[in-house]
């Protein structure tokens, strides 16, 4: 057996086992995290976006079908459900800082959530996007792991939903501080809660890095938005797509 032959054999073995998919996923994310920290945590240098671009380019380069990649990477994907369950802990911690603000918080959450869906769907329809894209915009306003669960239930693409949710988080984290300044919102808890509604996970981690109270309210908003969204978004979707 010549050397070249054995390299091909190793390659065939590697691309058939979960090892390669797991390795490129973790390595790409690690690189993304490294760049994010190097950029002093600039929201534009998002580790998820970097990892997705790297992995997608790599599997296209080696002509690995997405289904083969996913077969290996599904071990990481599986943990998404467990991570969703673990969101109960930050929500529980946020609850203790609620005091008596239940009413206003829930109402603004509903208004924000509804605005997010209707505006995204409306604009996409106006500019002639097709049904696959419009459908995936329905759950994008909640945190990505819950959004993907909702997408599966209402029969739209979880992949597109995940991408839209991550992009929403990046955009929200970038735009929220200046919009809130323009609106003259100075209270940390109000700023945090608004960012949690509009920019879920990515916004929440930004909020934590600025102020603890803002972070607690942001994770509370993100969690409540996820729970309420999981209940109401399928209903809204079926109402609008009868």
């Amino acid at each position: 057996m010549n050397e070249r032959h054995s390299i091909v054999e190793i390659w065939v073995y590697l691309s058939g086992s979960p090892l390669l998919a797991l390795f490129i996923t973790l390595a790409a994310y690690q690189l993304g995290l490294f760049l994010y920290q190097k950029s002093k945590q600039n929201a534009l240098v998002n580790p998820v976006a970097i990892a997705v671009i790297l992995v997608a380019s790599f599997i296209q380069l080696i002509e690995m079908p997405y289904s083969t990649y996913f077969e290996g990477a599904q071990f990481i994907h599986f943990l998404l459900g467990s991570a969703t369950v673990s969101l109960a802990i930050p929500i529980y911690r946020g609850l203790s800082s609620l005091h008596q603000r239940w009413g206003p918080l829930l109402i603004s959450l509903m208004i924000g959530g509804l605005t997010s869906i209707l505006s995204a769907v409306g604009i996409a329809k106006l500019f002639g996007a097709d049904q696959t894209i419009i459908g995936a915009l329905f759950p994008k306003s909640v945190t990505a792991p819950i959004a993907m669960g909702i997408a599966e239930r209402i029969g739209v693409s979880p992949t597109l939903t995940a991408i839209f949710a991550v992009l929403t988080g990046i955009l929200g984290a970038i735009l929220a501080p200046s919009i809130l300044n323009l609106l003259g919102m100075k209270n940390w808890w109000q700023r945090g809660f608004t960012i949690g509604i509009a920019a879920h996970g990515i916004g929440t981690s930004r909020a934590f890095s600025v102020n603890q109270e803002a972070g607690a309210y942001a994770s509370l908003a993100m969690g409540l938005h996820g729970i309420i969204g999981a209940i109401l978004i399928p209903i809204l979707y079926h109402l609008m797509n009868r």
Binding site: T25, A28, Y29, N46, V48, V52, A56, Y66, Y69, F70, A73, I76, H77, G81, S82, V85, S86, L87, A88, I89, P90, Y92, L95, G103, P104, S108, G112, S116, S119, A120, V121, I123, A124, F127, A129, T132, I133, L137, P145, I146, M148, R153, P158, T159, I163, V166, L167, G172, L175, L183, M185, N187, Q190, F193, T194, I195, A198, G226, I227, I231
Partner: protein
């Protein structure tokens, strides 16, 4: 770490079971989240093992989306064809969402502040 993971998987399994049997429109993990939240509220404390797992997950949450989001390779033609609609929908929606929820919150807590002032004056 393992003890916390066992608890999380237990609640996740409970959620999946309820989703299959009772509430098919709700994703199992979301039901698991709600049951765990109720459990925490009843017990009034978070066990250290659970806290450890939750911190681990929240640190690397983003990593868990990567496999699914990489499926973008299957949608590239569609995304290219509708790129402007997608960009405008996402940006417009984020801006409007922030404005709407911020104004709603401001308006209502202003009322809350005024109410509490009135109460203290009476």
């Amino acid at each position: 770490m393992v003890a916390g993971l066992v608890q999380i998987l237990f609640f996740q399994g409970l959620g999946e079971l309820m989703s299959k049997l009772l509430l098919p429109t709700l994703p199992g993990p979301v039901i698991g989240l709600v049951i765990l939240l109720i459990w925490l509220i009843v017990r009034k404390e978070i066990s250290p093992a659970l806290l450890l797992v939750s911190n681990g997950f929240s640190q690397y949450f983003g990593l868990l989306f990567v496999p699914a989001a990489t499926g973008v390779v299957l949608f590239l033609p569609q995304i290219k064809a509708h790129a402007w609609a997608i960009i405008l929908a996402l940006v417009g929606s984020v801006v409007l969402t922030i404005i709407a929820s911020a104004l709603a919150l401001k308006l209502m807590t202003k009322e809350e502040l005024m109410n509490s002032e009135r109460l203290s004056n009476e």
